[in-house]
């Protein structure tokens, strides 16, 4: 009944998150990466920097640069419509029923765009540094509904802790009645499953977090 098609997300172009592609486009302060190493009289402590950042955040500045000794940081705020005030929503949409007849149109394979591995920086989670070069995200190359298993009775393709290798099926994204297998593009270990079974996903949405190696 359903045609299967394999989709392999290509290797990411860069392992570092690209801030330009940030979903919440209010790019937060860039990381004071140098601060750890700074020493000498003029540089500030982490707490001091934090208090400065908080202050700058409140002011109507577009840019703030600071340099002292070998310490240096720059803050840039962008744009208007970034901080779309999120209204919490409660009802999760029910996915479409599967029972409808599949028309002849469906036999034509859908055009699946070659996705660029697309990393969205998140608010840094304590313990997991954001720019860990070994962390990798497997994203959805298509819009559809995410399934962890081939059918409701089967077991999940992968779970947290599983070792994975390129070409291995990680999940299914169903769209237009087609079950599209999403394949792994790295060798490594699944750290986190980011989407619930049966949930809709959009293009570029992160499905799994994996540790490369």
């Amino acid at each position: 009944m359903s045609t299967r098609k394999k989709i392999t997300p290509p290797k990411p172009k860069a392992t570092h998150p690209t801030p330009a592609a940030a979903k919440p486009n209010k790019a937060s302060a860039s990381h004071p990466a140098a601060s750890a190493k700074s020493s000498g009289s003029t540089s500030l402590s982490l707490d001091e920097i934090k208090s400065l950042i908080a202050l700058v955040g409140k002011e109507p500045f577009q840019e703030f640069e600071f340099e002292a000794g070998d310490m240096k940081f720059r803050i840039r705020k962008d744009s208007i419509h970034a901080p779309a005030p999120q209204v919490t929503y409660s009802s999760s949409p029910t996915s479409q029923p599967f029972g409808q007849p599949v028309s002849h149109l469906m036999t034509q394979a859908p055009t699946v765009p070659a996705p660029v591995a697309y990393a969205i920086p998140e608010p840094s989670i304590p313990g997991i540094p954001m720019d860990d070069p070994d962390l990798h995200y497997i994203t959805s190359p298509i819009v559809g509904t995410f399934y962890r298993a081939a059918n409701p009775k089967a077991s999940a393709f992968v779970s947290v802790g599983d070792k994975v290798r390129p070409g291995q099926t990680l999940c299914i994204v169903e769209a237009m009645k087609l079950l599209n297998e999403i394949e792994c593009d790295i060798t490594g270990e699944i750290v986190k499953v980011l989407v619930e079974n049966g949930q809709p996903v959009e293009y570029g949405e992160r499905l799994f977090q994996a540790r490369v190696g």
């Binding site: 005030p85 209204v87 479409q96 859908p110 819009v143 237009m176 959009e202 570029g204 949405e205």
Partner: protein
């Protein structure tokens, strides 16, 4: 929470006394100002909206103001806005009942409409048969000819001898134009005013064509004196009711790109208006048309008009018609698609006052080279009689990927003079910095005696641009 279903604005609660929403949820398969325009119509009707967007449009207003949004691909249209499976999947995962295609992209793609139908999704527009028929030039002309709609007279294919040329010209009526079949750029092209000069001009055209294109095949057409582009807005429901909303004057165009549109047209009398609009309704009826559509005509100086083509979707310039008729075309599209009857009859449609629209593009105003970039300062005009249809905001980035329209500025007045005065002051109080726009060009046109007097044809922009060049 998945990004696909995040809600950015409050649900619009249906007001107690408002009409029942024609749909619960509609997906808008478009971007920019028209996507926002459809969202506004949906909000007014209490319909939930789903925006789809490419990665380049993540920060767009149509995304911000929709109730839900789904990223459907990377920047290139072919991989996002033209990607049928992605659009359909977005409708499926969000449970949208209907898709509004806007203009451009998938709006006149009959195959897309078929996919929608197969997936049980309501397409807001006519059926695929109509779209196919009107999308094919030859088929459209044949259909219209059969329905008795006047077509541009011309030779039936190539004209191979002088005698054939004379016979054709007799039938078409002078002046006629002899055109190289392989031609372009004015070469191998001759305008003939009478039978006397035809033989010589016919031969000249052929030999010129031979030299220019290595092919001396020519055909003939009626030559229009100062033609005007006049189009008629049509709306029809599923029950055979077809009504026109009057005409639009779209003669100010450059390389077939409309720059300025007006309603009503100053070029036509009430008698001619009634004739041309009745003809448009006849044309629409001939194909069993429903939803919003436009019949485009070329109007000769002598009052003859000829069918050019039919657009089976909402037009960029629909606001001028909305301003003079008070009818919300997009809301009506949604109602029609949901199976409602037209909310008005022909008798209810009255053109009141005058409306004019300037398309402000992010282009060099004199060379028309696109100028994508970031908008660093912005002020849109307000006050009486001004409408702005746009999805721009200060700090927005206009990507190079899509069309360059920044905003549609629409001015309304009790008469053309007032509408023009309002457009002038609207352009004078429009501020767009960071990208070049065509606003200065529009401002200049608004002051041109030809434009003010209404004495222009589709060829006017060419003359005007030459004038500007000469000034420098």
């Amino acid at each position: 929470m998945t990004a696909a279903i995040k809600r950015k604005t409050l649900k619009v609660p249906a007001a107690p006394h408002a009409e029942e929403p024609p749909f619960k949820k509609v997906l808008i398969a478009n971007r920019g100002e028209i996507a926002l325009r459809v969202i506004l119509a949906c909000k007014e009707l209490g319909i939930q909206t789903v925006a789809v967007y490419s990665e380049a449009d993540r920060n767009s207003l149509h995304v911000r103001f929709a109730d839900e949004e789904v990223c459907i691909g990377p920047a290139p249209s072919a991989k996002s806005y033209l990607n049928i499976p992605q659009v359909i999947a977005a409708a499926e995962v969000t449970g949208a009942e209907a898709i509004h295609p806007g203009y451009g992209f998938l709006s006149e793609n009959a195959y897309f409409v078929e996919v929608c139908q197969a997936c049980g999704i309501n397409f807001i527009g006519p059926n695929p048969e109509i779209i196919r028929k009107m999308g094919n030039k030859a088929q459209a002309k044949a259909t219209m000819q059969a329905a008795g709609i006047p077509l541009m007279p011309g030779s039936d294919g190539l004209v191979e001898t002088v005698d054939e040329a004379l016979a054709n010209a007799e039938q078409i009526g002078y002046p006629v134009i002899v055109k190289a079949s392989a031609g372009g750029g004015g070469r191998g092209m001759r305008i003939c005013n009478n039978a006397e000069e035809l033989p010589e001009l016919y031969h000249t055209a052929r030999s010129e064509a031979k030299i220019a294109f290595g092919d001396d095949a020519v055909y003939m057409e009626k030559y229009l004196l100062e033609p005007r582009h006049i189009e008629v807005q049509i709306m029809g429901d599923l029950y055979g009711n077809i009504v026109h909303l009057g005409e639009r004057e779209c003669s100010i165009q450059r390389r077939h790109q409309k720059l300025i549109e007006e309603s009503p047209s100053g070029a036509i009398t009430q008698e001619l208006r009634e004739r041309i609009c009745a003809m448009a309704v006849k044309a629409a009826r001939a194909v069993g048309y429903y939803n919003a559509g436009t019949i485009e005509f070329l109007l000769d100086k002598r009052g003859d008009f000829f069918f050019m083509e039919m657009n089976t979707r909402v037009q960029v310039e629909h606001p001028v018609t909305e301003m003079v008729t008070g009818i919300d075309i997009v809301k009506e599209q949604l109602r029609i698609a949901a199976g409602q009857r037209l909310t008005f009859t022909q008798a209810d449609v009255v053109q009141r006052g005058h409306a004019i629209e300037c398309r402000i593009n992010a282009e060099d105003p004199w060379k028309f080279t696109p100028c994508p970039g970031r908008i660093t300062a912005l002020n849109f005009p307000g006050g009486p009689g001004i409408r702005v249809d746009t999805a721009m905001y200060q700090d927005a980035v206009i990507p190079p990927t899509y069309d360059s329209m920044v905003a549609k500025l629409i001015a309304y007045g009790n008469n053309r003079t007032e509408a023009l005065a309002r457009m002038r002051r609207a352009l004078d109080t429009l501020v767009i910095e960071g990208v070049k726009t065509t606003a200065p060009l529009h401002r200049k046109i608004m002051d041109h005696p030809d434009f003010i007097s209404g004495g222009f044809s589709t060829k006017w922009m060419e003359t005007f641009m030459a004038e500007l060049d000469a000034e420098r």
